[in-house]
Symmetry: D3
Subunit: 256 residues, 6 copies
C-alpha cells in the first residue's frame, strides 16, 4: 500500500489498523519458527477484510519464550526481545498510528508471553498522548485463542482439552498451520510424545530437561487441516463480530 492510498483511508476519520504480533520461536520439528507471526497475521488479515480495516507490518519478534508456555528461551531457534524493547515497540506503534489519525488500533497477539508488555506499551502511549476514557480513539489488545469457543474445543480435542499453557506446537497450532500454511508444515518430521508436565511455578534458570526434546509442550497427534479450518472460521467470525460491535462498525459480508 502506498502513502496516498493510506491517506485516503485515513480521511474518513474511521480508519482502523490491525497489528499482528508474533515471535521467532522454536515450534518443534514440524512447524516453522515464525508460526506465531504467521497465525496472528492470518487472523488479523481475515478480520480486517471483514471490517474494512488495514493490516500493518507484524511485530515479528516477541518476548522471551517461557518454559511453561513455550519451552524456554534457551532453545536455539528462539530469538527474543526483552521486556523493555517490546514495550517500546508497542508504545511507538500505538503512538505513531494514533498521531496519524487512525481511530482504532488493534494488536492481534499470537505469542502468549507478549501480552503484558504490549499492554504496558499501549498504556504508556495513551498516557503520553493524553487520551482518556471517553476519547474518540482507542487501542484494543487481544490474543486470538481467547476467541476459541467451548464448542470448538470439544470438537478439536475430543479427548479433552489439555489446557492453553501447553498448547505450544500442539494440535491447535498445527491444525491452523495445516489449514493456512500447509506448505510450511512438515508432518513427516513430527515427533510424538507425551504432553509436558510442568510445575506450578516458573524456575530460573530453567531446568532444560523439563522441556520435551521436540520443544513442543503437547503432542500434535490428531491435528488436521479440517480442525484448523474449523478453528480459523470460528475465531475469525467471533473476533470480527466482537470488534464490529465494540467499535460500531458494520462487518462486511466478505467470506473470510
Amino acid at each position: 500500500m502506498d502513502a496516498f492510498a493510506y491517506r485516503e483511508a485515513l480521511a474518513s476519520g474511521e480508519a482502523m489498523v490491525l497489528i499482528p504480533v508474533g515471535s521467532l520461536e522454536q515450534h518443534g520439528p514440524h512447524l516453522p519458527l515464525g508460526t506465531d507471526t504467521l497465525l496472528s497475521t492470518h487472523f488479523a488479515a481475515a478480520a480486517a477484510r471483514r471490517l474494512g480495516a488495514l493490516v500493518a507490518q507484524p511485530i515479528s519478534y516477541g518476548y522471551k519464550s517461557q518454559q511453561k508456555s513455550g519451552g524456554g528461551n534457551h532453545l536455539p531457534g528462539t530469538t527474543s526481545l526483552d521486556g523493555t524493547s517490546l514495550i517500546g515497540m508497542a508504545r511507538n506503534l500505538a503512538k505513531s498510528f494514533l498521531n496519524q489519525g487512525v481511530r482504532h488500533v488493534v494488536f492481534v497477539n499470537g505469542h502468549f508471553e507478549n501480552y503484558q508488555f504490549l499492554y504496558e506499551g499501549i498504556d504508556l502511549a495513551l498516557e503520553e498522548l493524553g487520551i482518556k476514557p471517553g476519547a474518540e480513539q482507542s487501542v484494543l489488545l487481544l490474543s486470538y485463542w481467547d476467541f476459541v469457543s467451548q464448542d470448538t474445543l470439544n470438537l478439536v480435542y475430543p479427548d479433552g482439552f489439555p489446557g492453553w499453557e501447553i498448547e505450544h506446537g500442539g494440535v491447535l497450532e498445527t491444525s491452523l498451520m495445516l489449514h493456512l500454511e500447509p506448505a510450511r508444515v512438515a508432518m513427516d518430521r513430527r515427533v510424538d510424545g507425551p504432553a509436558a508436565v510442568l510445575p506450578r511455578f516458573d524456575r530460573l534458570p530453567v531446568v532444560p530437561e523439563r522441556t520435551p526434546a521436540t520443544g513442543c509442550l503437547s503432542s500434535a497427534a490428531g491435528s488436521s487441516a479440517a480442525k484448523g479450518e474449523l478453528l480459523y472460521e470460528q475465531v475469525v467470525a467471533d473476533l470480527s463480530l466482537d470488534l464490529a460491535r465494540e467499535l460500531d462498525r458494520e462487518p462486511a459480508r466478505v467470506p473470510a
Copy 2:
C-alpha cells in the same frame, strides 16, 4: 531480624528467602486496599515456617490494575507502578539477595497483573549475574492461586467456579481475608451484585462503566472464614510440598 542473625542464616549456604508481592488496589467496600499484599505475605510466611526459610519485606505496590482482572487503574485507591519500575524492583531484589549468598529466592505473587514483569526482572538479574542452567542458585516465581486444587474449588464454589479472571474482591479473596485478617474485613459494607461480564480483549482507555460500581468483579456472597481456612490450609500444604521437593528441603512438621 538483625543483620547478625541473618548472616548466621546465610552461613549454611542453604538460605531461602521468600518475597511476598502484592499491590495497593481497590478491592471493593469490604476489603482493604492492601489485600493482595496481606494475602501473599500470609502465604509466604506459612511456607517459610514449614521450610525453615526467611520472609523479606513485601513489594507492596504492584503493576497497574487491568480492567479485566482488577477493575482498572482509573479507580481511586489503586496506586500502581509502571512496568519498568516493577521490573527494576524484581531485578534489584533478586540480584541483591543472590549476591549476599541466598541460595533460593522465591517471589510469592498475590496480584495477577504483576507476573510477567516479575519474571522479566528475575531473568535480567540472572543474566547480569551469569547464573545459567545447572547453577546452584535459583529464583522461583509463583502466584498462590495456581496452587488451589480442583477439589478445593468444588467446595468453595458449590455452584461452579466463575473463573480466575474475575476473582477480584470475590469469594476467594474475601474468604481468605475472613480467615486470616478478620478485623480488616467489613462484611457489613459488602455490596452484592452480578459478576462482571468483560470482553475477550483489553480496551484502552478503559470504558469505566464496565467495572461494577463496587469495584469487585464477582460477588463475595457465600464467603466465609471456613472456606478461607480450607483454601489457606490446602494451598500452604501444596505450595510448601512443591517447594520442598523442588529445592530438596525437608518440610518441617510445623502446623501452618
Copy 3:
C-alpha cells in the same frame, strides 16, 4: 483502609498522604534490618494523626547503603535498589496519588541515601503532570532528622554530637527504637566500639575494613528509651507544626 473510605477522604479535595520511605539495611547486631522503615513509618503516622492525613504503604527498600553514611552496600543484610528503580518508585507514587486527587503528598524519609533519588522522582512526576509553581497540588520531601532541634541534640548527646553522617545504628536510632519498638531491640547483643573515622571522599569499590565490624558507624552506648521519647516528641511536634503552617492545615489537638 478500603477504597470507599479512601474516596470519602479524597472528596474534600484536601486529602494529604504521607509516604514513609526506609530501607532494608544492616543496623548492627542490636537493631533490626527494617529500622529505617519502622522509624519513618512512626514519624509519618504521628504527623498524620495530628494533621488528619493518611499514611500510605512504606517504600521499604531504599537506595544502596554508602560506606560514609550506612556502612556500605557490601554488607549482608543490606538489600537495596539502584537509583533508577528508586526514582521510578517515587515518580510512580507521586503521579498516582496526585492523579487520584490527593492535594499534598509528603515523603517522610528515614534513610540518608534515598533523598536525591526521591527528589528526582517527584520532579519528574510534576513535569509529566504539568504541575507548576502556583498550582493547588504539591509534594513535600523531608528527612525526619532535619527536625531534631539543637536543644534536643544537647540533651541526647551531653558529650557533643558526633555528626549526622555517622549516626547509623548509634544513639539516635537506638533510642528511638527503644522508645517505639522496644521488642525489636536487643540491647544485650549490642557491641560497643569507637566511632568510625571515615575519609572526606567516597571510594569505590569500598575498603571494607573501614566499616566497624558491628556495622554501626558510632556507638549506641548511652541510648535510652527516655532519649528516644524526647527525640520522638520533639520531632513530631516540629514536623507537624511545619507541615500545618506550610499547607494551611489546622493541627489536631491529638497527643502524638
Copy 4:
C-alpha cells in the same frame, strides 16, 4: 524454517545470519510503504544464497524519517520507532543470535536513518557478551547503497547523480522496485517534480512545505526495470564478494 533444521545449520559453528532492516515510510504515490524493508530483504536474501547464509525476519519498522533524507516523520504513512527502541531491537537480536552460536550476524540496512542506532545496539550487545577484538564471532552492519559502484551510478544517472541524501522515492529505489517487485509499483500514479532543495542543517519542528507534495525528494523519472536489474546485480555481486572475503567464506556459484 523449523528449529531442527536451524540447529543443523548452527552445528557447523559457521552459521551466518543476515537481518534485513527497513522501515514503514511513505515513498510517494507510486511505491509501497514497505519499500525499504522489501529492498533490504531482497539484498539480504540474494547475498545469503551466494554465501550459504540464513536470512532472519526483517526489522520492518525503522527510526523516524528525517526531512533531509526521507521527507520527515510528520507525513501520514510513516510509522517509526524512537532511537531507544531501535537500539533495543538491534541489541536483543545481536545478543540472541550470538548466544545461540551464530558465528557472524550481518545487518543489511535499507533505511538511511537507522544506521547509528543499529550500530549502538550492536556495540552494546558485544559489550554485554564480552566479545572483544580477536573473537571468533562478529557482527557486520552495512547499507546496501554503499555498494553501488561509480560505474553503475554513471549508467543509472546519465545526467549526474543528485546525491544519496535526496534518493528517497527516486530513480534508484523505483528502478530496484520495478525489477524486484513490479506488482507493487504504480508507475501510473507517479507524480513528477523537481528535486527537493534542502538546507544544510536539520530543523525541528520541520517546515512541512520543504518536502515536495509527493513525499519524494527527487524525481523517479527515468526509472526502469533494466536500471534496477543493473543496480541489483552489481550490488549483490560486490556485497557478496566483500562478505565472502571478510568472513573467509567461499561464495557459492549461485546466480543471484
Copy 5:
C-alpha cells in the same frame, strides 16, 4: 556571563543559543584530544558574534568513535558516551533552553558520530514540550563541514578530496587547528602515512589493525594555517548567512 545579563538577552524574546558539540577523541600525535570540541566552539563563537547570539558551554564528550570515521573507540585517549547518554544530554539541554524562553537553539556539531543521537534528543525534547510545525521556537542541528563549499575543497585539496569519512586528523582538521589553535598543534610530532582504506561495512568488534598506527585516517601532509583560515572564513560566512536567512536575523557586520 552572569544570570542577570543572560535574562536581559532573553527579554527580547529573540534570544538564540549555539551549543558546540565535540568529543574527547584521539586525533593522532599532532592534535589534541579535544580537537572536535575546540573546532565546534570556534565555529559557534564566530557565528554567534555575527548573529548576536549566545554560546553555551560545549558538550565536550561525544558518541563512541567508529573505526570508519574516527579510528575506533578502542584507542586510548578516546573517552566516549553511549547513545542513551548523548541523547539525554541533547534532550535536556534543548528542553532547558527552550523552557527558559530561548527562541532558537542551534547545535553546532564537530564529531561525525554524534549526529543522529543529537537529532533524537532534540526530537524527544520537542515532543515533550509539545512544540509542533508552525511554532515560534525551533532547534537546528548542523555539522560544520557540511558548509565547506566545493570551491574551498578544490583549493584545500589540490590533488582531489579523499572524502569526509576519512577526514580524521587529516588536512582539514589540522589546517583549522593551525589557524585557530596553533599552540595546541605539534606539527613536529606528525607522522605521515597513506590514507586508511576501510571497508564499506562496519565490523564489530573492530579489527584494530585497520586503523593506521597514527590514529589518523588520512595524512595531514599539506596542512597549513592558510588553508585553515580559508576553510574557517568560508564556513563561518556561509553558516552565518544560512542561519540569518533561516531565522530572520540581521547578520551583524562583524568580521569573524
Copy 6:
C-alpha cells in the same frame, strides 16, 4: 594533550585522572553561570599538579538546581540535566577511563546537587566492569568544600558560618572567584540582602518567592580575594594530601 602523550602517561599503570564536575547555574548578578565548573576545575588542576595526575574535560552541566541549595531550577540561566543523564555521564566516563587503563579516577565536584547521581554512575560502572573490593583500580568522589577546615571557616566567617546549604553565591564562592577568576566577577553588580531562610523540607513545585531576588542564598558581603586565597590554599593542600595518602602517591613539592 595529544593521544600519544596520554598513552605514555598510561604506560606506567599508575595514571590518575581528575574529572571536574560543575553546573551551568545562576549565581546572582556578580558571578558567572559557570562558577561551579570553574571552581572545581581549579581545584582539580591544582591537585593534579601536586600529584602528577591528569585533568579531564569537565562535566559542565549538572543536576537540577534545588531551591534549598541553589535557588531552584526555575531560574533563567540555570540549565540542568536530569538524574538519568548525569548518572549516564558518570557511568560512561568512569567506565571509559578505567577501560583505558587509568588506575584511579577522581571526580571533583563543585555543585551540591550532583553528588548522589555521580555516586550511582560510578557504582554502576564498577559493577559492569566487575571491579570489587581489593581491586587495583578505584574511583573516588568528593566535593571540594568538604575539605575546608574549621580554622579556615573561622577566619572566613568571623561572625559565624551560616551553613553549607545556603552557601550559593555567598562569601565562599565569591572569595574563591575573586582569587581565581577576578576578571569574571562583577563586584559592582553585587546586590546585598539577608540570607535566605528556607524550610526544613523540599517543596515541589517550588514557591519562587522563597528564593531571594538575587538568586543568592546568602550575602557575598565580606568576600575578598584574600579569603579566597586562604580557602583555596588550604583546600588544595588538604585535598592533595588526602589523595596522596589514600592512593600511595608522593605529592610533588609544586606550589599550588
